[in-house]
């Protein structure tokens, strides 16, 4: 990191050295090209800035929406109609500014495209509320996706492709309903995936899988947020947990070349999701005796445990604390099966255990990111903590204006932290 600080200083000094005649223009260009390559090698850090910028605008957009929604009834219909168009118009104006001035910045392009998508959604929703139009989620999301298509191409926005496709495609069991959109994004995907190891293809594949997974999970487990409990099979938790741990360590041992580690990512994401869902109170009493096809599952579980122990033994010396934390999830799930019968105290204890586990996991990831100086890992840990806060926040019944203000505050914190990280990295210091 110190190198970056020194390189930046040297690059700033070059014009002065030309002025006093120590260097000529050609030498300066050679030096610039040489050191810019070193700066380029730190480009993956940009991903963290992009993610933080996107999360920031999502929160600010959501907060503004909540505040408008709260004051909705105090406004007359004509003014409401104008207000409904306003989010899109403002987003388009910002889009025009980005198009003119900031097209070279990925963070600007990506966050602006997502902001426009949200504002468009906001406008359609507001019009729907003015005229009491019953929400038809699939046609709403499809029309939103179709209107976003030109924005995807103009701003070359991978985040918007991931966002729109992540919501549109799982929404239709029959692909023919979303075929125009699917055909529409194909040229973009083809262009991005031509180079499968590029940062864009890497980001796009991860973002699409996360959003698809999230969307599937959202519909399956929507009761978790609405009622603060989930219907998850306890035995399924152990099976899922151990499978993801197994994938993670297979990825660590055998598929970890050139900083590309898809199995590690799938394993880690799977564990993040299952442990996140476990944060909710679970009400099911499914136990081993009534679990279907139990004999197969038991055999499978035993094999996975043996395989995982072998893998961990092989790589244990290189493991970080966060990786050990990932391992703990199946053990917590096992404790749940062993100790929980029906007592409410025991349910409370296990719920607390899952909550603590999730927070510990998030903090350990941030610590790892700080030790290895990888902002993407810090961003992952911060994202998990944010997700946890939002979940708890949504399950609390408060009015929209409070929710809106908190949303804006969280969004502003993200953007502020983003700015702070950027400045710190530019100075070449440790966060």
């Amino acid at each position: 990191m110190k190198d970056i600080k020194q390189i930046n200083w040297l690059l700033k000094e070059l014009p002065n050295l030309v002025k006093v005649g120590i260097l000529n223009e050609d030498k300066v260009k050679e030096i610039e090209n040489h050191y810019k390559l070193q700066l380029e090698s730190h480009k993956p850090l940009n991903l963290a800035f992009i993610i933080f910028a996107i999360i920031g605008v999502i929160f600010i957009g959501g907060g503004i929406l909540s505040i408008i929604a709260f004051n909705w009834s105090a406004i007359n219909k004509e003014f409401k109609t104008v207000l409904a168009l306003l989010p899109t118009l403002i987003a388009q104006l910002i889009g025009w500014f980005v198009f003119k001035k900031k097209m070279e910045s990925i963070a600007w392009r990506e966050s602006m495209s997502v902001f426009l998508f949200i504002c468009l959604a906001a406008s359609i929703t507001l019009i729907g509320q003015i005229y009491h139009l019953a929400s038809d989620y699939s046609s709403f999301i499809l029309s939103l996706g179709l209107m976003s298509l030109p924005i995807i191409y103009i701003f070359r926005s991978s985040a918007l492709v991931a966002l729109s496709s992540g919501f549109i495609i799982p929404c239709f069991s029959n692909i023919e309903n979303s075929i125009i959109f699917v055909i529409g994004i194909c040229p973009f995907l083809y262009k991005v995936f031509q180079n499968k190891y590029s940062p864009s293809s890497y980001f796009l594949s991860i973002a699409m899988s996360v959003l698809w997974l999230f969307n599937e999970m959202f519909w399956t487990f929507s009761s978790c947020v609405d009622h603060n409990y989930c219907e998850i099979n306890k035995f399924g938790k152990i099976i899922n947990g151990i499978c993801f741990v197994f994938l993670f360590f297979v990825g660590t041992l055998y598929f970890n070349d050139n900083k590309k580690h898809p199995l590690r990512i799938i394993g880690a994401l799977g564990l993040f999701f299952t442990s996140y869902l476990s944060v909710f109170k679970s009400t099911q009493i499914s136990n081993i005796s009534n679990y279907p096809a139990i004999s197969f599952n038991i055999v499978f579980l035993i094999l996975m445990v043996i395989g995982t122990i072998y893998l961990i033994k092989t790589v244990s010396s290189d493991l970080f604390i966060s990786e050990w934390c990932l391992l703990v999830y199946p053990i917590v799930a096992l404790i749940e099966i062993l100790i929980i019968k029906s007592s409410s105290t025991q349910s409370f204890l296990i719920s607390t255990l899952y909550n603590l586990y999730f927070l510990l996991l998030a903090v350990s990831i941030i610590i790892k990111g700080n030790n290895t100086k990888e902002l993407n890992i810090i961003a992952t840990g911060s994202f998990l903590i944010t997700l946890y806060i939002i979940t708890k926040f949504i399950s609390i019944q408060s009015d929209l204006i409070t929710k809106g203000l908190i949303c804006i505050l969280i969004g502003a914190c993200f953007l502020g932290f983003n700015f702070y990280m950027k400045k710190t990295i530019e100075r070449g210091e440790k966060i």
């Binding site: 929604a69 709260f70 909705w72 009834s73 105090a74 109609t81 409904a84 168009l85 899109t88 118009l89 388009q92 889009g95 025009w96 198009f99 468009l120 406008s123 359609i124 019009i127 509320q129 003015i130 005229y131 009491h132 139009l133 019953a134 929400s135 038809d136 029309s143 209107m147 030109p150 924005i151 191409y153 103009i154 029959n174 947020v225 609405d226 949504i394 019944q397 009015d399 929209l400």
Partner: protein, 183 residues
Amino acid sequence: MKKIALLIACFLQIAFLIYLIFTNQAILKTGEQYKFKVRPIDPYNIFKGRYLTLAFEEEQANPIYDCPKNSNNKSFAIITKDKNDFAQLQKITNIKPKENNYFELKTNYCQHKILGNFKFPFNEFYLQETMAKKTEEDYKESLKIKNNNSYALVRIQGGKAVLEDLYINDKSVNNNLQEKPKI
């Protein structure tokens, strides 16, 4: 080239929104009024907040139904009015009617001319969050009154239906449950 594409994209987005506003506004101005007997429920949704879900008496009817031949589940509900302007569901068909007294709706399944449950497309009423619970309570109160008159006022035109207002025992919810103005 990209500049023109961006301008066209922005124009299309705004045009789409204006189209949504104008079609619904036109129906509210010139569409034919129907009253639907209603039962409002105040649900809570994390994204929508508090609003009113409307269940209609006519949704419980067992109308004649022509099962669609294709997988498209778009159907048309044909309605008539009784002497008090209350809507009565006559028939649900998959053939677009020639008359103007119909609206589009989605049906779930159909077998041997028996229709699965269906919902009218104007079953959500948005209002100030704090009013949703109160309206539901007012409705429950109004049930104690003999000849309770709670209904949704809907405008219908060209197969589209727009919910205009909700009346709880003849008091408009749009006007914060004030008496219905005499026309």
